[in-house]
Amino acid sequence: MVIGVLALQGDFEEHAIVLSRLGAEVREVRAAADLEGLTGLIIPGGESTTITRLLTAYGLLEPLRERIDDGLAVMGTCAGAIVLAQHAAGLDRPGIERMAIRVKRNAFGRQRDSFETDIDIAGIEGGPVHAVFIRAPVIEGVDPPARILASLPDGRVVAARQGNMIALAFHPELTADTRVHAYFLQVASASVAAAPAGLAHHV
């Protein structure tokens, strides 16, 4: 199973390390040709303005949208969640715009407002996940078919899922706990099993 990590800017290396530890074959994605044969794709943390600008500059936006519409499993963390959202307040460039969520960038404030805390995530067994929020967004609105996976105690949504797409406001790649990535790999392998025969060339 080959999992891509979008490697335009951000902490793609940290994601690749976790995926390798879980036994996935990892490919850095910098161009449309790198999408060929992927089972899943992670869009890492980084600067959403930089990543969206480069997505457009390298002609990756349309190929990515097409692959996601065909069922490619994708997980976005922090900036990655912003890139996946249909609406991102404060982002003046188009992202992939495929998840029915509305996100607000830098919703908690600047770096001094960054924080770590434990959260429960629907579908992840074994107790709360330690979540690292760095200049993080929040998911202000979750519209069907997207659904909430995790919220903070004050009710603010920080994780959501829509079919094969997962958006997280935090950074599971920065801790030693691999459960979130393992969950994504399950989603990705299930998406392959469920793919119609006509899409087999994609996997």
Binding site: A7, L8, Q9, G10, D11, F12, E13, E14, R30, G45, G46, E47, T49, T50, R53, L54, A57, C78, A79, G90, R105, N106, G109, R110, Q111, R112, D113, S114, F115, E116, T117, V132, I134, R135, H171, L174, T175
Partner: protein, 293 residues
């Protein structure tokens, strides 16, 4: 809920990896940098080549300017304070900047002591010329490291020297037996615990960017191929003929640093780079990298 932790401080630098951080003096500069794809901006009073030309004491930026820059862009904003000037750092923290650069580019406020950075919630980046200097700064609490290079010269030679020194210092430690590590810590003047950690992991515990002399997309890609995590560009952008085009080209060269076709393409038609200086013509007192220890 925890804040100001080592994980959060180092973590923000991890988010900047594969990116370009650009020196800016004004909010207008900052917008050009953000539009070109900078992953962060660095606020300072004057770009290094102007500091070099003007002389005098270079200090932290005017807070008015920093607030304007914070207001103008949504990417992280860093700002420089003088080496050892912990009150400038306190002011920058109070203003809400995302990272403080305790920088040799400004005139040092203390020639014996760097800031004790663990006391701050805001993370710090510091310059280094070799592994020992990098580890001393990390020991004091730096959450990110950059090479010093020789700022404001448009000459990459010192950045290359410093990056190679850090890399070869790490390589040496990884092949050492346990009994050699204390002697190595002594000779580097580095905290023993950090030497042990590098022996175990084979890498620095924090992100390491290149800085000081990057003037072209090729310079930026060179530093990436030498193994740094990202690039700071100072005078190289706003002292060039076409800052926006050059900034955008350097961003692309950093993303595609292994692809000569892309680097060749983005290097075409950029106009004049900043004027350069041969380091050998600089007196020791004019070499900014010699500030700090």
């Amino acid at each position: 809920m925890e804040q100001g932790t080592v994980l959060l401080k180092r973590g923000l630098a991890q988010m900047l990896k594969g990116g370009v951080i650009m020196d800016v003096v004004t909010a207008e500069h900052a917008k050009i940098a953000e539009e070109a794809g900078a992953c962060a901006v660095m606020a300072l009073e004057r770009v290094p080549s102007d500091i070099r030309a003007d002389g005098g004491v270079a200090r932290m930026s005017d807070p008015t300017k920093i607030l304007e820059i914070l207001e103008a862009v949504t990417i992280p904003v860093m700002a420089k304070c003088r080496i050892g000037h912990f009150v400038e750092a306190q002011i920058l923290e109070s203003l809400g900047v995302d990272y403080v650069d305790e920088s040799e580019v400004l005139t040092p406020a203390d020639e014996s002591h760097h800031i004790w950075k663990h006391d701050f919630k805001v993370p710090f980046v510091c310059g280094c010329r070799d592994l020992g200097e990098a580890l001393r700064r990390i020991g004091e609490g730096a959450a990110m490291i950059r090479t010093k290079g020789e700022a404001g010269t448009g000459n990459i030679v010192e950045a290359v020297r410093h990056m190679r020194a850090v890399k070869s210092g790490i390589s040496r430690i990884t092949v050492m037996g346990s009994e050699e590590l204390m002697a190595e810590a002594k000779s580097l003047g580095a905290p023993f615990e950090l030497v042990l950690e590098i022996n175990r992991t084979g890498k620095l515990p924090v992100v390491n960017f290149a800085a000081g002399g990057v003037a072209t997309p090729a310079d930026a890609a060179l530093m990436m191929q030498l193994g740094c995590d990202g690039v700071f560009v100072g005078s190289g952008i706003f002292k060039a003929e076409d800052p926006a085009a050059r900034a955008s080209a350097i961003v692309q060269a950093v993303t595609h640093f292994k692809d000569p076709d892309v680097i060749a393409r983005v290097s075409t038609g950029l106009g004049e780079a900043m004027p350069g200086i041969d380091i050998r013509t600089l007196a020791e007192t004019e070499q900014l990298a010699r500030r700090g220890w």
